[in-house]
């Protein structure tokens, strides 16, 4: 005996909400779209304007300075391979998207993370939201991005920011909460204000943890930017996407390997930044 329970129109509700947002806030979304697009263009053109060897030298130098010579050499070899495979331009496009998405995600995540560290109420409010953001299949974010920002790189960045932001928030909160209580007490005892504590004590002491969060964000951003090729984002993702459509595993792997090289470079550089120049043994 089947009871006829009406289906809850969850999807309809969400669609209605999204429709409302797109029709009433198109000014906002179009504004965001224009700003983001010009950001992408400027950064992309800037990176493209540099000759390949010059950018390679710069990246290798960064690797060497923040990490070690070995990573510098690795960077040269990896980037040379990408260049050789003719994937330089898509690699730059992907890098641009990752950088912009990460910057936006971190800028939004920092204050939220700090707030969640300070306020227990905000913490209990945002944690389920973060769980939601992280476990929702990444593809789903692509769908509402299109009505908001249309097909292309801006939508990709929108989806990427949402997908990659949670670790930056989580790690910021974690880092600040992990600052030993006696240090906070000491700061309080000397009459430090909340912002003095935050800027001079909590923030510097939680920097390694926050950097770990940013590292995670970058990795997630890279993976999402590749997936975002499905909604027309340029870059290595679209190379993979094309390879799928044409059933050319060789091309697919080549682009995939380029993604791996880029990921490893970004990961190693940010990991090295995490461990600040140790002054103590």
């Amino acid at each position: 005996m089947a009871i006829d329970i009406p289906r809850i129109p969850l999807g309809d509700g969400i669609e209605g909400g999204l429709d409302f947002l797109t029709s009433h806030y198109s000014m906002v979304t179009r504004g965001i779209s224009r700003v983001t697009q010009s950001g992408i263009t400027v950064l992309n053109d800037g990176l493209m304007w540099l000759p390949e060897w010059a950018l390679m030298a710069i990246i290798a130098l960064i690797c060497w300075r923040v990490a070690n010579l070995r990573l510098g050499i690795g960077a040269v070899l990896g980037l040379a391979l990408i260049w050789n495979l003719g994937l330089w331009d898509p690699m730059i496009e992907t890098l641009t998207l990752v950088v912009i998405a990460t910057v936006v995600a971190v800028v939004i995540a920092m204050p939220l993370g700090v707030l969640a560290a300070i306020s227990d109420r905000f913490y209990s409010l945002i944690m389920p939201v973060l769980d939601f953001m992280q476990t929702m299949p990444a593809f789903v974010y692509l769908i509402p991005a299109i009505p908001f920002f249309g097909i292309g790189s801006v939508s990709a960045i929108f989806a990427t920011v949402i997908f990659s932001m949670p670790p930056a928030i989580r790690f910021t909160t974690l880092g600040i909460r992990q600052v030993p209580k006696d240090l906070i007490e000491a700061a309080d005892a000397f009459g430090a204000t909340r912002s003095q504590k935050l800027i001079k004590i909590q923030f510097p002491l939680s920097l390694p943890t926050i950097m770990a969060g940013i590292n995670q964000t970058i990795m997630l951003a890279l993976s999402m930017v590749v997936i975002a090729a499905m909604i027309g984002a340029d870059g290595l993702g679209s190379e993979v996407w094309r390879a799928i459509q044409r059933l050319r595993p060789g091309d697919g792997f080549e682009a995939g390997i380029a993604v791996v090289i880029l990921a490893m470079l970004l990961d190693r550089i940010t990991q090295a930044l995490r461990k600040p120049k140790k002054k103590t043994s």
């Binding site: 005892a189 000397f190 204000t193």
Partner: protein
């Protein structure tokens, strides 16, 4: 000790109580009905951290608050600068009632009046020794140049010059706590709060630090409140001691008050472990001088004073009771017979002399074969009293009984 000088009181604590829990009113009500901590905990689930504490902190003194863990001493010191909010009571410092201050006034009050030294040092690991020492001044917005100077000065005070650029993790425990001390000193607040400041140090270093604190304190006359669970420490550094138990004051007084007249069994049990001969000072065995000779007295007058009081030697003092020396009965008698009219050339200087704080076990060794009583003099060489051999033996015997 009586409150002789009201004007010199720095902090006045009255009726201070702290309840940990969500229904402090209920707990205080039970407390007012005469219930004690365990019963209140059982009935309401509230912990009575501090109950009705009254005491004064005098300007320039080193006040020790002593108690075992759970006695409420850490809570008490944190109530003073409101790192823990007191439930009721007044804490008045220079006319300001701390529990009533607004958030902003409280910050100002903490910056001006309190600097704190912590048990586990609580140094900022990302700052150098110098930057740590500057911290209080940095918080107050003092400009870089003058705070560098103050911090450097206070680091020198604690013997850390040359270590300015090191990081705390490169320092030993004792040195780290010196940085903690320097951080508190540089701030030049009016009161220094020390929370078990030396408890994490190993015993030898701890003794050194205690000595240094006493010297610093004498030099700078900084009002200091020192928390400890160690009676030896309390006695060796404290001008006065407050004993806490279960959040209440059990006894308040000078180290000697507490040792010689323990208020109850609890204090007495504490006192048991202390080496009394080290604690008793000349002061406790001293008696007033029955008679003294003046340098202007003639031999006959002196002879008369001696025979009236049954003495065979007498201390000679000048104006302002300054101690000049001692004369003995044979010499004076001879001079009187020779018809001299002054005792000036009879005055001898080979007599034992000590300050009032001299420990008893040192005194014993000072008696020489002439058995002159030990003259107790203050810093200006004024005669305060004398200690005779019998009194020392008596006190040492008393100490042995404890």
């Amino acid at each position: 000790m009586t409150e002789t000088d009201e004007t010199n009181i720095k902090i006045q604590v009255r009726g201070l109580s702290k309840v940990f829990g969500s229904q402090p009113k209920k707990a205080l009500e039970l407390r007012n009905q005469g219930k004690k901590r365990p019963e209140i905990l059982e009935k309401t689930g509230q912990t009575l951290g501090l109950s009705n504490i009254d005491f004064d902190v005098r300007e320039g003194e080193l006040l020790v608050i002593m108690g075992l863990s759970g006695s409420g001493k850490s809570t008490l010191i944190r109530c003073l600068n409101r790192l823990i909010e007191p439930t009721e009571g007044d804490i008045v410092i220079d006319g300001q009632n701390i529990p009533k201050l607004s958030e902003k006034e409280l910050l100002e009050c903490r910056r001006r009046h309190f600097s704190m030294v912590f048990q586990n040092f609580a140094l900022f690991p990302h700052k150098t020794v110098q930057e740590n020492a500057e911290y209080g001044l940095e918080v107050r917005g003092i400009e870089k140049k003058s705070r560098v100077e103050s911090a450097r000065n206070s680091l020198k005070q604690v013997g850390l010059d040359g270590w300015e650029d090191a990081y705390p993790s490169q320092l030993s425990g004792g040195m780290q706590q010196r940085v903690g001390l320097a951080r508190a000193l540089a701030n030049d607040s009016t009161v220094m709060l020390m929370d078990e400041a030396f408890s994490a140090l190993d015993p030898l270093i701890r003794k050194d630090m205690q000595q240094e604190l006493i010297e610093l304190q004498h030099r700078m006359k900084k009002t200091t409140i020192f928390i400890t669970h160690d009676l030896d420490e309390a006695i060796s550094i404290g001008d006065r001691i407050i004993l806490l138990k279960d959040g209440e004051v059990v006894q308040m007084g000078t180290p000697e008050d507490i040792l010689t007249r323990p208020a109850d069994d609890y204090v007495a049990r504490f006192v048991e472990g202390v080496d009394m001969s080290r604690i008793f000072t000349a002061n406790s065995a001293m008696r007033s001088v029955r008679a003294t000779a003046r340098d202007s007295d003639g031999p006959r007058t002196v002879l008369r004073k001696m025979s009236d009081n049954g003495l065979d030697s007498i201390y000679v003092i000048g104006r302002d009771r300054t101690l000049l020396g001692i004369v003995n009965v044979d010499d004076v008698d001879a001079a009187a017979k020779a018809g001299k009219d002054t005792i000036n050339e009879l005055i001898q200087n080979d007599f034992p002399k000590a300050g009032p704080d001299e420990p008893m076990n040192n005194l014993f060794a000072m008696f020489n074969d002439k058995s002159y009583p030990i003259a107790i003099v203050d810093d200006n060489q004024r005669l305060l009293g004398v200690v005779v051999k019998g009194a020392v033996l008596e006190k040492l015997a008393e100490a042995g009984e404890h």
